[in-house]
């Protein structure tokens, strides 16, 4: 008789794999080809795990037990190995996310310029003054999940928030509440920088590497606005004043 905890070829115990085979992963049948395409990008298959977990969130809006089993199945690793990764990264959500994910930067710089007030106002607007919505909680109508985010790399445009990871720059409490209200009405306000909004699950497809899929706006989305006044300030000022880097010599290289 085989001992219960023998290690099998896939590196898991037989007991784990028996358990794994009991989880129904058929919800992912429609993306198996995509999963195979992700694996094909890398010299070694396990590198596909992060994009695969994004693909799981595209299908289910979070990483469920079935999602963990699906990744384990595709990569032939154990569910414990997948869980260890899925629980490490903040972008993988353990509970279903609403139609949109709103992330408010509350790191020091944004907070000093109003980010904390924006986050407090958004929490109240979505949960009511008595029960403000908490981090990674979803409004009762399923429209919006909120989170406080660490620095979003847009400090010159502070305070910022993102909706489905598209930037809304230089926010105020009022402008942020307008965005929230619009999202709840089913509207899609246009980000300051980025492509027209789709929804959280669609953007996860982009994160899995399928950037030009119609679900995330196709190739046209690439043209969404990018250059904020702030991003160009130095270059514009130099242009106005005629400042440049020293001219490149004619026979530049190898000197």
């Amino acid at each position: 008789m085989e001992p219960e905890h023998a290690i099998d070829e896939a590196g898991g115990t037989t007991a784990q794999h028996a358990e794994l085979s009991r989880v129904d992963t058929s919800v992912f049948d429609g993306v198996r080809e995509r999963a195979a395409a992700i694996l094909a990008r890398y010299p070694q298959p396990r590198s596909a795990l992060l994009p695969l977990l994004h693909l799981v969130q595209h299908v289910e809006g979070h990483v469920s037990r079935a999602g963990i089993a699906f990744c384990a199945e595709v990569l032939e690793i154990t569910t414990a190995e997948v869980s260890a990764v899925a629980t490490f990264y903040t972008m993988y959500k353990r509970e279903p996310v609403g139609r949109h994910l709103v992330s408010v930067c509350t790191n020091t710089l944004c907070a000093a310029l109003g980010g904390d007030d924006i986050y407090a106002a958004v929490r109240e607007r979505l949960g009511g003054p008595d029960q403000p919505l908490g981090h990674e909680q979803t409004a009762a109508d399923g429209s919006v999940t909120i989170e406080h985010a660490e620095c979003l790399a847009a400090c010159d445009l502070a305070p910022v928030l993102t909706v489905d990871y598209e930037f809304f720059d230089k926010q105020t409490v009022d402008s942020a509440l307008e965005i929230i209200d619009a999202l709840r009405r089913g509207e899609k306000p246009h980000p300051t920088r980025g492509a027209p909004l789709t929804d959280f699950r669609s953007v996860e497809l982009l994160l899995a590497g399928f950037f030009d899929d119609p679900a995330v706006g196709g190739l046209e989305a690439v043209a969404g606005p990018s250059a904020a006044v702030e991003s160009l300030r130095g270059a514009r000022l130099a242009e106005e004043r005629g400042w440049t880097a020293p001219p490149v010599p004619d026979e530049g290289a190898h000197t």
Binding site: L50, A153, C155, L207, G234, A238
Partner: protein, 443 residues
């Protein structure tokens, strides 16, 4: 003497549809690639070394030297050991250090400068696979990078036998999933291998055992995007900007209480006073109180340091570090202990949990600071904080722990009075109040 601003990378950002191959090529893009392909790889490594390019991701390690550590097969000999393995190039595009916001606009506005830099670098170190590990939260950058990589394949700049040189290269754009620690190069490599992003013990260094335990160069976005300009302009041109040991232009990111925050590309060694002048001065004229030269992991500086040359040596001599040249600027209205608490909460959240000093230290430092900011601290807390810092600094597995203590120790160094003042305002804990009452003590 160079001009106050020397846009090399940022000048590409001005054009309409600056992110397209067409625009980049019109500005002379991909011509450095042709030059590079006519140059022996070892000469390219020497060129970047002689140009004095230093890493723009925070540590400032000489880029050409990093490339030269990759073991290569000797001519006429059968390679053994690491030299026999495939080589990899990995781009650290996991921008997340608080205050840092230069790689994001770069990748959004001009992804092709990075792609061209990747091809030249991969050719120089003889890598045939390159991964751009980009922070997951910046989806518009991810979109633009994917589109740029596709355009580069279609133009024959990527793929098999590029422009008939016999050189092959594939680039994969790899989205992260929200973990600051993955900006640490070995944590990034673990993450790219599909694991938890936790740092590795060094040595071995990535140059000999990096991605898949093979020789790997990990470089920051701005560093690699700078490479084409060095190939096009040459080392002497590059050295006309900046200072002897910190040459070249650098994107300074000004944020916070300034009139015109934004990205200003200037020669290394520019001072905050000069940058503030360009950015219209302090917002509403309210005086400067404290600032960081390069993100929250670089010790705070004050108005005394306005004339510190912001290059790798200057920032270090002033008791800080150049970091990512992310200048977060705060005026007199901001409480230092509060700012330090917010940053410490960031490190508490982002500590990966692998080593005890950082995991436990960040937890306790954040807790003590919260208590102080809530007015319930004592002066002894300041000593406790410094003692905990002493047990984290230099004792953590990677630099995250060192970064975490920077705001605390520098904050107390320059603004101790503010921490003490919080203690003066302390309320006695209700439980203490109750015990005092019950015991009839008068203290």
């Amino acid at each position: 003497m160079t001009d106050p601003l020397t846009p090399v990378l940022t000048k590409h950002w001005l054009g309409p549809e600056s992110w397209t191959l067409r625009h980049y090529t019109e500005l002379g893009g991909y011509s450095a690639l042709r030059t590079a392909f006519d140059t022996p790889p070892d000469d390219l490594v020497a060129l970047v070394k002689d140009a004095g390019l230093r890493g723009r991701g925070g540590a400032g390690f000489p880029t050409g030297m990093k490339w030269s550590f990759i073991p290569q097969a000797k001519p006429g000999e059968e390679p053994t050991g690491p030299a026999a393995k495939p080589k990899y190039l990995v781009i650290n595009a996991d921008e997340g250090e608080p205050g840092t916001c230069k790689d994001t606009p770069l990748m959004m506005a001009d992804p092709h400068s990075l792609i061209e830099g990747c091809i030249i670098t991969a050719y120089a170190i003889r890598a045939h696979f390159c991964a751009i590990y980009v922070r997951g939260e910046i989806v518009h950058c991810i979109r633009r990078l994917h589109a740029a990589v596709r355009e580069a394949y279609e133009a024959g700049h990527l793929g098999k036998d590029i422009h008939g040189t016999g050189f092959d290269l594939d680039i994969v754009v790899h989205a992260g999933a929200g973990a600051y620690i993955c900006g640490e190069e070995t944590a990034l490599l673990d993450s790219l291998e599909g694991r938890r992003g936790q740092p590795r013990l060094k040595p071995p260094f990535p140059a000999t055992a990096g991605l898949y335990a093979a020789p790997t160069v990990v470089n920051n976005v701005e560093t690699i995007a700078t490479v084409p300009s060095i190939v096009a302009g040459g080392k002497d041109w590059f050295r006309t900007m900046g200072r002897e040991r910190s040459p070249g232009p650098k994107i300074y990111s000004l944020s916070g209480h300034v009139e015109r925050p934004g990205q200003y590309e200037a020669p290394l060694g520019t001072t905050l006073r000069q940058l503030l002048e360009l950015a219209g001065g302090m917002k509403d004229g309210i005086p400067l109180k404290f600032w960081t030269p390069g993100g929250s992991s670089t010790p705070l500086l004050t108005a005394e340091h306005l004339d510190v040359p912001l290059d790798f040596e200057g920032a270090t001599e002033a008791g800080s570090m150049l970091g990512t040249t992310a200048l977060m600027i705060f005026n007199e209205t901001v409480s230092v202990p509060w700012a330090v608490m917010k940053w410490t909460e960031f490190y508490e959240h982002e500590s990966c949990g692998k080593c005890t000093p950082c995991r436990e230290g960040c937890y306790w430092m954040a807790g003590i600071l919260r208590r102080m900011v809530d007015g319930e601290g004592t002066e002894a807390d300041i000593d406790t904080l410094l003692d905990v810092c002493d047990n984290v600094l230099g004792r953590s597995f990677c630099a995250l722990g060192d970064g975490a203590v920077s705001p605390i120790t520098s904050g107390i160094k320059y603004f101790r009075d503010e921490f003490v003042a919080l203690c003066g305002a302390q309320r006695r804990h209700p439980e203490v109040e109750r015990i005092v009452e019950l015991s009839g003590a008068s203290a």
